[in-house]
Symmetry: none
Subunit: 243 residues, 2 copies
């Protein structure tokens, strides 16, 4: 017989399957409570052994995305809570959770060949394109955050067809693209120029800036800079010595 193994692409089979399932779950195609296909069904779908799909489902269970029950199957679980600094927050949900009215406005959207500056923020190839967005988030009509984002279309081709004039890119991405690593850089700086104007702040007002990069298996997905008025936004982290 022919053992194909990972001979094809360099990406492991169980990784592809995992990404596949994660995408379905995060996109909402498989909502919480949905019964994931049985192991033997996935074996057939992906033409692989049970060990392989078992590894994927076990990993998803360990990550909290699914709950497994003997005899019953595996089910998409509720999103887990995490400490706020280590979250990728959905600003819309955050604002609404506080009982405030959420507002969103797309200020600018361009697709361009990555400039040197872009490539410093998002490590894409030399002549590759990036999607650049700038938008504003409001809470009860007050500017709450300015979002400056670069998206790597190589990693998220669907982004090119997406209409960001209504759906904020963070909300969309959070539900659309499974990521594996993220980095936050948290900075305090004085509001200036367009940021100050668009946040309706006096020049010099302290702002909390969160620069976040996310990757999927080493491939950059997006880089975003969120500028919040300092008096409207704090980050909280609870933790223990062992993590």
């Amino acid at each position: 017989m022919s053992i194909e193994q990972k001979s094809a692409g360099t990406v492991a089979l169980y990784q592809r399957i995992r990404t596949d399932l994660e995408t379905r779950i995060l996109s909402g195609e498989w909502p919480p409570g949905y019964r994931v296909p049985f192991e033997h069904e996935l074996m057939q779908s992906y033409s692989c052994s049970r060990m392989t799909v078992n590894k994927v489902l076990s990993a998803l269970a360990a990550a909290g995305l699914v709950v497994r029950r003997r005899r019953a199957g595996s089910f998409v679980s509720r999103p887990r809570a995490q400490s706020a600094v280590l979250q990728i927050p959905d600003l819309k949900a955050e604002v609404e959770k506080r009982g405030e009215r959420y507002g969103y406005q797309l200020l600018k959207l361009t697709k361009r060949i990555a400039t040197a500056n872009d490539r410093a923020r998002l490590a894409v190839g030399a002549r590759e394109s990036v999607l650049a967005l700038r938008c504003r988030h409001d809470a009860d009509g007050e500017p709450f955050a300015i979002e400056d984002r670069l998206i790597n279309p190589q990693a998220v081709p669907v982004a090119l067809q997406q209409d960001f004039s209504v759906i904020p890119p963070n909300t969309w991405l959070v539900g659309q693209v499974p990521w594996t690593e993220a980095e936050h850089r948290i900075i305090a700086c004085n509001a200036a120029g367009a940021d100050a104007a668009e946040l309706k702040l006096d020049e010099g007002t302290a702002c909390l800036v969160i620069e976040r990069k996310t990757w999927r298996n080493g491939e950059p997905i997006t880089a975003v800079r969120l500028t919040h008025p300092g008096h409207l936004y704090n980050l909280i982290a609870r933790f223990t010595p062992t993590g």
Copy 2:
């Protein structure tokens, strides 16, 4: 042949092996850098298949306890790779790590019966005393942080005899007092008053403020407010969806 499997105890073999290895690592018996036995060695030790020990080592790698390198082996990894925002940093060590000269000055130290304000910061009893400190940290002679700290003497009696004019309280506490929980609140604000003056900043300069509380089994140990010039201090966090 006789496939024993998990027939014996109800605990899975790979779980026993994992606990075993974790104990060796966490106890320090296998220090950082120690080369964990090869998979084929563990197979023999535990009389099991390679898949099983592989599952264990992969899990330990995913948890960050070991680093695996082809051809070389698996090695106990360095201090729990915890993200910086979830650390309790030793400012002295941080500054010196960047190759800068560390300076420290105790500005004020008082022991007093907890005021209402103190009790809001550090949840101690009504008539109990607190140790209040204010000090400054310098990097290469430049003010780097103002530290405002309350210590609960009920939790750390030794603190009363400690001489904080030379040893910074954070450095001392980090090495002295085991804690079980901590909380960070991260804020951006404009420098003002004594903070601005002691940091040698213009009024209004953006500062990154970190308010941290630590507990030991629910008992408050200390509450500290660290005010950093925004242009001198960023927080970094690296993380994954699973935490």
